[in-house]
């Protein structure tokens, strides 16, 4: 490291500036672009499931309506509000880190973590109710109906899509713990907040997936 001469003496080397970048602006731009490249693969990953969902919904619409009626609309709506609330606190945490407000960043990240945990807890309550109803696909599927096999397929999509969404939330919660520690350590400020921004991009993406899952899994055929 010390062998590399510093050509610009007016700009001392920032401790978090990687040597292959010109400056922190370029580093910030590269990391957000890189995160978007990753989110592109995530969009297509979830997109494949949404596409399969759409094909089978087209084929088995009545079973999809029946399955959706076994969802808890109240809990689903509360969870939507909780998750969008966590996106707000995440966005405010990015802003706080931009402004160099250390403890505000820490508290907003903690708030995001708490709201994310509330979401997962409510999701757990819903999953428990589905198990009780015998709606978990496989050998424990005891739900009785003329459309039962197709409702089972709906529930397979339901558990697959919300389960992968929840997995992303769990990973996000783990990342938040790391970022709470780094924010507390005063790593971030007006010059260097890229990692918080990238963390935010991930969290908001997971929020967007839920924004589509909610109407597609809970709000089908409610007007019947």
């Amino acid at each position: 490291m010390t062998a590399i001469p510093t050509t610009d003496e007016h700009h001392p080397h920032h401790p978090f500036l990687q040597h292959h970048f010109e400056d922190l602006g370029q580093q910030h731009e590269a990391s957000t672009l890189g995160m978007w490249m990753f989110l592109t693969t995530e969009i297509l990953f979830f997109g494949g499931m949404f596409c399969a969902y759409a094909v089978y919904r087209m084929l088995y619409e009545p079973a999809w309506v029946e399955g959706a009626h076994h969802q808890n609309l109240l809990l689903g709506t509360i969870n939507t509000i909780v998750l969008i609330g966590s996106s707000l606190t995440m966005a405010l945490a990015v802003r706080a880190s931009q402004l160099g407000r250390r403890m505000l960043t820490v508290w907003l990240l903690i708030a995001t973590l708490i709201l994310g945990s509330v979401f997962l807890g409510i999701k757990g309550v819903e999953y428990h109710a589905h198990f009780e109803e015998g709606l978990f696909p496989g050998t424990h599927f005891t739900y009785q109906s003329p459309l039962a096999p197709k409702v089972e397929l709906f529930m397979l999509f339901y558990f697959g899509m919300t389960g992968l969404h929840a997995l992303h939330m769990v990973i996000g919660a783990g990342l938040l713990l790391y970022f709470i520690w780094r924010a507390w350590r005063a790593d971030f400020g007006p010059e260097y907040y890229g990692p918080v921004e990238v963390m935010g991009l991930y969290w908001h993406f997971v929020d967007i997936v839920w924004i589509f899952l909610f109407p597609l899994l809970y709000l089908i055929g409610r007007h019947h």
Binding site: G25, Q26, E29, W36, M58, I208, P215, L219
Partner: protein, 107 residues
């Protein structure tokens, strides 16, 4: 220094979104959430699903533009995002070009 820096270097890293925009977007997302729940109980015929998805697209666009700061992002970022949705469109269009044209299936 009077030398203007290239626009792509510092601008995106130093734009601080005003608080009213964040709270305004959050408020709009809440309104759209209540709206989509309410409108799902209204019989719109075949339009229920398109309306629900339309509201979801508006909500997602608000999150992407303001919470994810894409409105202030570089054009290269825009290309990546638009490109990803184009490929998502290819996935759906080609899949349904098959399933919607199977004359022997009853829809």
């Amino acid at each position: 220094m009077v030398t203007p820096e290239p626009a792509h270097e510092q601008a995106p890293a130093h734009h601080v979104t005003p608080l009213p925009i964040y709270f305004g977007v959050f408020f709009a997302l809440m309104i759209f959430t209540v709206l989509t729940v309410w409108i799902s109980t209204v019989n719109l015929g075949v339009l229920n699903t398109p309306v629900a998805l339309g509201i979801a697209v508006v909500k997602a666009t608000l999150v992407i533009l303001f919470f994810m700061h894409v409105i202030h992002s570089t054009r290269l970022t825009w290309v990546v995002i638009v490109g990803s949705f184009l490929w998502l469109g290819v996935l759906f269009v080609l899949t349904f070009a098959d399933y919607l044209t199977r004359a022997w299936a009853i829809y």
